[in-house]
Symmetry: C2
Subunit: 724 residues, 2 copies
């Protein structure tokens, strides 16, 4: 910036001008986040020379759309990663990178890599000698496998891994790896904090935004192979020809990248757009309508994936409106989809308007009796926990409890309950904690991951879905760090055994570069960030304390309104004696839905992990926690610890300024300042509220809330984003 304070004459001005010119010229490639983890900046470091020697030519035979995409990606990426490589040789003896399938390239077929035994999407990457020259072969079980292999190889380069002795054999562990978009036809996004929907419905099908291709590239690079375009709170209009034509245009863009399009189905569509008088799943007219509608959809989208359905939940229509079961509803749709190869993904996130029982119990109560009653092209999609994507929840009791029904995992990538786009909360540890949780069904060691990858119960279909955090914001996800949540979801969907730490490190290298000065501190920030958010929002197993409707900021005082379980007081149950939801046999007995060993652990206040203490128990304020502090003091401690951690994260970030471009540095710093402010707000508001029950002073050394409880209760945010 040019700042001339003195009457210094022209010489000084000239010097400043020269500096200013340097500073003002825009960099060639803006670091605005648009490129995600596919930035392909020129590589540095000692590995480069080896890379140059090993990739002198790129050979992709074949002419399919997918193989063309492979060739384009490899060529563009390597030209950018290894720029100015004028020494790249064109002779036949030059070291080659060869990508293809056994069908597309006879030299790959000749290698006999046993590709056929790999699951769909699998690939092999080998460094070898081929026809007398050095080569690296990326061989796919199928064409999409080649694409996945190509992205895998590029990731190796981007993270500076050695490639001189590659012997990689990879395949996805889960078949359906899905993004669920809660995107409405008016381009709003329910629980979206990254602008409008990516889908510009109004201009589709005639205008194909180039961004749709980049969406497909990004997803394919982490193995996502399905996308539900529309909100589970569905509008039947999305199934009309006008909109099917639009969805078909998107499907055409995504197809070369191995991504199939799914749609949400509104159960009452036969009435709303079909002109029928009923949507009863046992009504022959209704069944015929869906069969015809599905056949119509496949005329538009020949590889249509199927329907995602939210039925009889939060006011959505469903089979229970006609006295039928979830299985009746799902099977009717499954019957219509089966001839075309489509599936039904039926959500288990249900709670009835009338049911007065603990909401945590309702999905299990309704679905376990239906185990074995679903068609074989139906999957049941279960949220990671039994309430609703809270900052931390114990595993959902359905996992392991439906051995004859393929259960899909539903994670939330968008941070509805975790600070929207401005809070740095890396969700890897949350996902990992759930995937590694032990169901004890049928025996100890049966993890949630083994349920959803099908190994525990030999599911024929397997799947995992993440509620997308994408939108029209330039950086896709609302913040740079939220890109990591999209990334870690995809990587865990590919292999649920990966560690969230290793994925974090991978993402940081792709996103900020390989300098150790930035990689290690940022990974540490990310890995600690989820616990910090739990601490400053809902420590010790508390849940659902956010403000009503938009879920922005604290609202532990929320009560009244249409439903008890849409309030905070229903969940925290604070009173003069203590705090927490008694889900033991003395309370709602939700613990009984877990396998007996787990039920015993959760049901025992001395054995339950303290992170879930108040989830399962109503605990006296003076209960002695593991730290030696009484519960009230521990609660204040954790709230304070969480808020302080954010301040520390920001300090860490500020030491990293030399290693980050100015644009991303500034936005992240501003967002961390917002997070620090809001973490403090959460802490202060919750302490100010809960102290009215505990009637105890804050432990020594802990700051008083900055304002009165009345002040916190008075804050209103009617225009907070993402509200349905």
């Amino acid at each position: 910036m040019l700042t001339i304070r003195c009457r210094c004459g022209f010489r000084f001005a000239q010097l400043l001008l020269a500096l200013s010119l340097l500073a003002s010229i825009p960099t060639a490639l803006a670091e605005d986040g648009y490129e995600l983890w596919q930035r392909y900046r020129p590589l540095g470091g000692g590995a480069i020379e080896q890379y140059r020697r090993s990739v002198q030519r790129i050979i992709v035979k074949g002419d399919s759309p997918t193989l063309r995409a492979v060739a384009q990606e490899l060529n563009a990426a390597i030209a950018r990663l290894l720029p100015g490589d004028s020494s790249r040789e064109a002779s036949d003896s030059a070291a080659a990178l060869i990508a293809g399938t056994a069908q597309s390239d006879s030299s790959i077929a000749a290698l006999r890599l046993d590709l056929g035994s790999l699951p769909a999407g699998g690939f092999v990457i080998r460094t070898l000698r081929l026809e007398g020259r050095n080569a690296i072969v990326i061989a796919g079980r199928d064409e999409v496998g080649v694409l996945y292999g190509a992205f895998h190889f590029l990731r190796l380069l981007q993270t500076l891994q050695p490639i001189d002795a590659l012997d990689i054999r990879e395949a996805p562990r889960i078949k359906l790896r899905m993004l669920d978009h809660w995107d409405n036809l008016d381009r709003s996004v329910e629980r979206g904090y990254a602008g409008q929907s990516l889908w510009d419905w109004h201009k589709l099908p005639d205008y194909i935004d180039p961004r749709y291709v980049d969406y497909a590239r990004a997803n394919a690079s982490i193995g996502i192979n399905g996308t539900v375009l529309t909100n589970v709170n569905a509008n039947a209009t999305s199934l009309t020809p006008q909109y099917l034509e639009k969805s078909a245009a998107l499907a055409r863009v995504f197809r070369p990248y191995g991504i199939r399009v799914f749609l949400s189905a509104r159960f009452s569509a036969p009435i709303e757009i079909g002109g029928l008088k009923t949507a009863d799943p046992l009504d022959p007219g209704v069944r015929a309508w869906w069969q015809a509608k599905v056949a119509e959809i496949y005329r538009y989208i020949p590889d249509f994936g199927g329907f995602l359905v939210k039925a009889n939940s939060e006011g959505q229509p469903g089979p229970q409106d006609y006295g039928r079961s979830h299985a009746d509803g799902a099977n009717m749709l499954g019957e219509a989809l089966a001839p075309h190869g489509g599936v039904v993904i039926w959500r288990a996130f249900v709670y009835s308007n009338e049911q007065p029982d603990d909401r945590a119990k309702q999905a299990y109560t309704e679905f376990v009796p239906l185990d074995g009653k679903f068609r074989d092209n139906v999957l049941v999609q279960v949220k990671n926990g039994a309430i609703d994507f809270q900052p931390r929840e114990p595993l959902h009791p359905l996992f392991g409890a439906m051995p004859r029904t393929p259960l899909m995992m539903e994670f939330q990538i968008t941070k509805e309950y975790l600070g929207f786009a401005t809070h740095l909360v890396y969700l890897g540890p949350l996902y990992e904690e759930v995937l590694r949780a032990d169901t004890y069904r049928p025996r100890q060691g049966t993890t949630v991951a083994s349920v959803i990858d099908g190994s525990a119960h030999s599911y024929r279909l397997t799947g995992i879905g993440g509620v997308a955090n994408t939108g029209s914001d330039r950086n896709w996800s609302g913040s740079h760090f939220d890109q990591a949540n999209w990334y870690v979801f995809g990587r865990l969907a590919w292999n649920p055994s990966l560690s969230s730490r290793s994925i974090a490190e991978e993402w940081v290298r792709l996103t900020f570069g390989n300098e150790p000065q930035i990689v290690q501190p940022v990974v540490a920030m990310m890995m600690s960030s989820h616990q910090a958010a739990v601490d400053y929002m809902t420590p010790l197993g508390l849940h659902h304390l956010m403000d009503r409707g938009h879920h922005y900021g604290p609202g532990p005082w929320i009560e009244g309104g249409p439903r008890a379980d849409w309030t905070s007081v229903y969940f925290h149950r604070a009173d003069a004696r203590g705090i927490g939801f008694d889900r033991t046999s003395a309370g709602s007995n939700a613990v009984s839905q877990y396998a007996p060993p787990l039920a015993h652990i959760f049901g025992d206040v001395r054995r339950v992990p303290e992170d879930f203490l108040l989830w399962f128990h109503h605990v006296p304020w003076d209960y002695r926690t593991q730290s030696g502090r009484i519960l009230w003091d521990e609660l204040v401690h954790r709230y304070s610890r969480g808020a302080e951690h954010v301040t520390e994260m920001r300090k860490t970030w500020q030491t990293l300024q030399p290693y980050v471009d100015a644009e991303r540095y500034a936005q992240i710093d501003a967002f961390l300042a917002i997070q620090a402010k809001e973490a403090r707000w959460w802490r202060d508001a919750c302490i100010a509220y809960f102290r009215t029950f505990s009637n105890r002073p804050l432990p020594a050394g802990y700051a008083e809330p900055g304002h009165s409880l009345a002040y916190y209760e008075s804050l209103k945010f009617p225009f907070a984003p993402g509200h349905e």
Copy 2:
């Protein structure tokens, strides 16, 4: 793109690879439209050497935020326009570009340029000898004048104008040059077709999007000096401290660029956020509330511009709710703003829910009796025509009819009625037609421009506002060509005598470069585009034929609903005899609101310009038009001509592919395809509809509509964007 169809071995693949590498490497600076007319690409052509010789050094003395912005812009722009200029000399004798005011730079003061006689924002640019060296001086009457001069100078370079003998003296002709944002607090934009609001209210004031600076730069470059942040259909929440803090943060960003922040004021705010029982403008409590509120606003925004008010119109509250006049309401707010230097912009776009008279007459009827009754810090803002931003309207009868009240012009930049973002419709000719229209008040030759620039009636305050077309879309305006509408608005606001053609040429050079192969054809497309849109939508003075609510597509059949004047049939009045709205003395007598000579012209079916024929007259189907065709045939002809013109525009565009980058070429081509389809849709639907009245065949050689009238009537677009 890599396409390998043959079993050609590696040599052919290598060749293709080399080509592919070239194609796949992204260009250094994407042409995605983000940079608007400030692209600053390296200049070519013979002028460059002269530019290099003339700008060897850049000298901006002074340390104010505005002068820093000047220095930054000049340095960054010239480094990009004249790159790699290693010969730029640093010696004192090098030719200098010097920018400043007489106060900031004594060498400028010494030139005695009579800057003080210029209006605010004025500047001088001179090529001269200064202290023994060649120099170009950009001297501002004030600091913002320097900024305007700097942008003017850069525009000269960008458009390859000679700079060896500059002698420019410029100043804005209109004082308030405003963008009106119809942006809501939930970030939706009423009648917005470019994504969400630019204002990220939720993250303000803590996060300052760098885009806010680019918004200010773009506006300052065309002389805009005010922005109304919020929708005229206002929410009182925008006046609460929570939101004033956010608006203040934007004002801080805009201030160095000479842009003042205004807010819309909801007339009932004293009730809604003030807790009063009334908003009666004569109530002392209400007056005191507004005075305190305004004082509070100025504490947040010391240079706050004032209020824009829509009152007693389309259901908005206003002084008439209490039996008071528009003057009573405006003066109350004016009284509150006066001590702080703020103004009230009171909209004349009013029509009452009860008034059964021709809506075109209501503003005149209500406002003319109030002439002279407004405080001297009140302006009345009048839309260009009396209905509502129709594709073409005759001048509003208020212009010239309120000599003692400063009338502001309100243009619509966003294309609510002109095809949203996908239609190429350059609005310069529309604006120019209105500005040059003759009011005949008090005498022939008194143009609308002379009314709003104050010269006709010696207004002390003058202003012009444009309803912004900006949004979160990467290209700001929803399409590349819509940027030209923002641009031409700003340029005409600076000088309403400029020609829309010269501005189009200027914009094309800034946006697509100076090659004559592209400049002339694109200017021709732009200049003919407005007439084409009028032809395919509402030819011959027809108006308000669009579909209800969202205004997307044709809806001449719209009838019923809450108000007659929210239907199409109210406006076109087609029947078996003829078509058109009789506004002569035999009809609504709206013509009588114009000056007598103009009333005679408009009221005489033989003298009225045919472009306004059906605006003022109900004309028989067999009326002989100037072309010799009967009216029905002329109607079909014009509809057809408009649709065909779009097809021709697309053909022209396709010949320009060699001169345009791939990214912009493709999007514009896709949008022109949409426009061609929709122009045909408009033509066919309107012909199919109106033929049911005319009962005549299409003239020979004109294509039948593609579908039945029932088909067109059945089309529904419930999610069209921009709906309020």
